[in-house]
Symmetry: C2
Subunit: 211 residues, 2 copies
DNA sequence: GTCTATACGATGATAGAC
DNA sequence: GTCTATCATCGTATAGAC
């Protein structure tokens, strides 16, 4: 390998350009030019433009999902140990916190979240299928534990409420800095911890809503 | 005009193909072929592919926003007349109900919602800007009335909660039939009235969540 | 194995004849 | 208003240099 970091450079540049300019609007020529590699390098190393995006996602999603799964199981085991229902707030904290942590500039994944937000929205795309294959076990587990935590709410109802919660979260991920409407007297530039707590309060109240 | 309904046919076909196949994946050649018009007709009548989508959106969004704005003002005026705060449930019913009504096959706009969901997700796109310009007054008004209905919650907090609510709603719009994960014992094919009520319960609980 | 140069078909857009 | 012809650019594929 004369250029040992060609793949790495492609992943980094693609993540940034896809996130800032959009997947479809970003050409392979723009990526390979910015990464200072040949155009054909993408197809050689990854196979296609879609496969490149898939690799960009997998690189971050893999470790992230391990963390979320671990923290989810910790909450589940604590519930078993204490012989009680899983703690709802702990459950959703385990799911939300590691995700929003990526918004911190120090994480090195500042562009990743808005990228995921885009993919999550592309209902018809193949990318969605790829993403879901990675996420499906986590979603299933989160749903089951939420059902255990809220035995009073019908599964059917909880399914849709979890669906709504995912919607809020993905919408937040997508709105990196640009928030649709900024009314007077509102500062949209709040820190991550504050937003995380607001999302948690909102989501928990929704999940526990009276029937 | 030898073909007086060329524009109309283009709008109808484009709405259907954009919604089912995705905006980027649908070529102008596929649209003009299905509509049985010449390829250049799109650029003649609308100017560009993006402008065509904009026209498709505006055709439905205009009347819909008039309805939503009217119903919002009805709630506001009732509050003034009774000298009380606006009713929160009535407020969000006015916003959500006319929208989800479009999911009914009889509405003739069955493809529209998933199209809007796509646009709402394309954070970086020009389409988003177009959409927001149409929606911004409605969002502003909904936010202000929500603030009036919940004077105990800080504007800053309510801003984000409204943001989360919009996220749930757009996520629901996007998932026309295809829901990411279907756990056991859950029927995802519920009727619109039931889903509307579940979304309302969820959203209201979130907006009113304790601090 | 890795990179380069080059070519192919399809796309969105446009100019000009009718 | 409608059509044909043509353009630059896109994602992709491949042959050949190192």
């Amino acid at each position: 390998m004369s250029q040992p970091d060609t793949k790495q450079r492609l992943l980094d540049v693609a993540e940034r350009l896809f996130a800032t300019g959009g997947f479809h609007a970003t050409s392979l020529r723009a990526i390979t030019c910015a990464a200072e590699v040949n155009l054909a390098a993408v197809n050689y190393h990854f196979g296609s433009k879609e496969a490149l995006l898939e690799a960009v996602m997998a690189r971050r999603l893999g470790p992230l999902n391990v963390i979320r799964q671990d923290r989810l199981e910790q909450v589940a085991q604590r519930a078993v140990a204490e012989g009680e229902k899983p703690d709802l707030r702990a459950l959703w904290t385990a799911f939300i916190t590691p995700t929003l942590e990526l918004r911190r500039p120090e994480s090195g994944a500042e562009y990743f979240l808005s990228l995921i937000g885009q993919v999550l929205a592309d209902t018809n795309g193949v990318l969605m299928q790829v993403f879901l294959r990675q996420m499906s076990p986590l979603f299933q587990r989160l749903f089951e534990l939420t059902c255990q935590a809220l035995p009073g709410v019908p599964r059917q109802t909880l399914f849709w409420r979890v669906h709504f919660a995912i919607g809020s979260m993905s919408h937040l991920m997508r709105s990196n800095d640009r928030v649709p409407v900024k009314p007077e007297g509102v500062d949209t530039d709040v820190d991550i911890d504050a937003i995380t707590e607001m999302l948690l309060d909102y989501t928990l109240a929704g999940l526990e809503a009276p029937l």
